[in-house]
Amino acid sequence: MAERPSVKDILAAARKGGAAKPADGGEAAPAPEAPAAAEASGAPAVPPPAPSLGRPLTLKEKLAAARGAAPGAPAAAAPTPAAPAAAAAPATGEKVVPPPAPSIGRPLTLKEKLAAAKSGGVAPAAAPSGGVPVAPKAAPAAKAPARDLPPLSEISDPRDLAEALRQAGAKKDKELAGADAKGAPAKPAAKAKPEAKTVPGKPSKSASLAEGTSRRAVLQFPWIVAGWVAFTGGLGALTAMCGRFMFPNVLAEPPSTVKVGVPTDFAKEDVSERWKAEWGFWIVRTERYNGQDILFALQSVCTHLGCPPNWLAGEQKFKCPCHGSGFYISGINFEGPAPRPLERFRVAIADDGQIMVDKSAKFQEELAQWSDPDSFLPAV
């Protein structure tokens, strides 16, 4: 199997100038080239070029010619459009597209061009040339103005550049075609499929079929799968690690219980602030909640947005510095935006007679939890 030409090769060939000439490879490029040439004969989709070619081709013409992969197309184009399209059809074995307009006195419309393109490259105005069947070997390019192109690095005229590129493309086509031809048994020209690689860079079905079994395609498959598997696995591992992070081996939390002294330490209608800074609660002794003289631990967190309120002894209220919420000594909210009373912590008498405050349990008045015997202690 012939190797694909490297870019260097192509450029070198382009510099030589003649490599693209089918005449050179007359025998090396047997099958597909022939129909290409035949098609070319029916490819005057190109705006009518000067038959004499007394001037260099325009860029447009060159591009059109390159698309048709028939360098000699203009040369082969005949001035008389009257010839039946059938003349071209048998030669290529193609579906025939009726000529959109008998006269080619004008450039084709976009619609016509599209129709032509759909038909697979057979020219609509098959106008071929008074029915002169072009022989496969009538290497049209040979008659094309075989200009000597300067080396690629020295090309300054865009038309020369286009020509060089076209020639390079033609050579590539040829070589690909040659590869195909070698890979498959040679076929008669008439039977060659029209898709046989006439447009460079757009692999035909047969070409891709041929490549479908190539090494490269076979090797690509597992790599992609492996990549995705690795990615998914990595993502899963990361998620698992994040999940594990939520459950540390050691939880450095301060103990949730603290002993605050014996009940007799606390005066009537008083708020002890000793445990506010470190533990976040007040010990309150008051009769004003339900008429009984009770002790309880009130969490020093405002129920509005969580600021720590201050105990104002003069006003006998807790007052929040952030939005002005106010609470009675009992913890009941009465001013500002706080929607509910402060919360109590669990209190109990420890074995040594001290009050033990347990911050892990809370009691909320609006949920009727303040009647829970764990939420307060009777004062003595």
């Binding site: 800074a277 976040g280 947005l305 600021c307 201050n310 006003e315 939005h323 002005g324 106010g326 929607p339």
Partner: protein
Amino acid sequence: MEIKPELVNTLLDVHPDLTPGVMTGLAWYFLLAAMLNAAAAAFVAYQEMVSEGASRDGLAPRTRKLPDALVVVFFALYGVATLLLLAKGFLPKSFDVATIGYGLCALANVILAITAGADAAHWAEKKYGHDGAAHAGPATLDDHIPAVGIGGPINRTLWSIVWAVCAVIFQAMGLVYILHGEYALPDFIRNAIDLVSGPTTFFTGATLAFFAMYFYRKYLANGVVAWWMVNAFLMFFGLSMTDFDFRDIVTKPDNVPIVGLIVLVGFFTWLSLRRAVINDARMAQGLPNLEELDPEKTLTWPDLVYTELIAMVALTIFLVVWAIALQAPLEQPASSTTAPNPSKAPWYFLGLQEMLVYFDPWMAGVVLPSLIVVGLMAMPYIDTNKQGNGYYTIAQRKFAYLTFQYGYLVLWVVLILLGTFLRGPNWNFFGPYEYWDVHKLIPLNNVNLSEIVWVQMLGTRRPDNIILRELPGILVVLGYFVVLPPLMERLFFRKMREQGGWIRYSVLAMLILFMASLPIKMVLRWTLNLKYLVAIPEYFFNI
């Protein structure tokens, strides 16, 4: 041993209104105010006064001209004063450099003001004679050519004299302070202002002022009126600085940007308002608006990019100087169990913090801020008014102007001012000249609507069933959001609904109702002591 008065004051915890430092600062402040007014007088006396959009065609050239000698004298006096102050260390101590330098600057201001006023009077007499009867002659470039819609031409003689007098008054006040005259804002004025200030009066007053600005915009757009307001602000601010508590709050490094914000927001609001008034009047007369008149376009490169570069460098320098001059205040270490009193958000969030006083956190902290953002994004999709694109106008976009400016100026900027200057310890409201007393008692016993309805009005106890208990509030809220939109559509938004369709209108109505809920809730709190319409603390749901 000499005892400094400041030390005594500090030891006795006295709050002195006037200290030597404050008086020096005030002297220079009033010098600046006098200079501004002298410059205004000179501008009115000498400069060409062709307002926006007015044509110069066919007008006789001007003959008024700023005398070179005046410029030379003015800058020479300021220059000598600067040199004196710079050379302070090399001069003998008995030489009171600060006072002499100040005197030179004051002299420059007064010369500029009096010359401008006198020159204007002299010029008018020369041109029109003693009686001024010839004023009705054809306009020349010596006259004030007013903009369309702002009113007639001003009397340049009169106003250069008025601004000159203002300059002299400000300068006299400055001289009093530099010569150690102790003049503070009279107590009865401070007490009166403290008495009337409160969240209710402050917010209601701001709302009324906003609508006054809208309805009297034709007068407000006039440069003379605007300059009067600048002078009034300068005077009020300068005199207020003689009060210890006012000064203490305003000069806190945190709060300095807010003072700048007042100036900037005020100026740009006025500028856009003036151009809109002129444009509206021009378009009513069939004239092209100002932006059509001057469709000048400049190149991105180099014009815009160079401007941006220079602005960037200048702003950087400004910020560096500011950061060095006014150090960021460091407070106590953060703690979860203590908070400064008052605890204030960053200044730009103080409006939100004020909102939190009236609403549950999830409403004021989540729902309403999100709706502000969503509403701003929805604006182009709701607005069906194609007018007002690319030029200033109010008449063609009354609804858009009123809604946006009310939301921005009153519900955002004014609440920032309230939160910055007027909220003190325990988030109580304090007058601008009031001492921030931690123990100030303001009765704020708030009650929920269920309490008002069931206990106060019906005389029964509140039902145990949550839904039944909160039924009055739920009905009110539902009525607000269900009944009001169709009613508003009938009354105000018929055209809008016909143009934009029901979906647009419904979104608009919802956004407006949410926006209006803030002032409504504030008023309800102040008048009825209403805490929440619907209060279900059991499920963290309060409205």
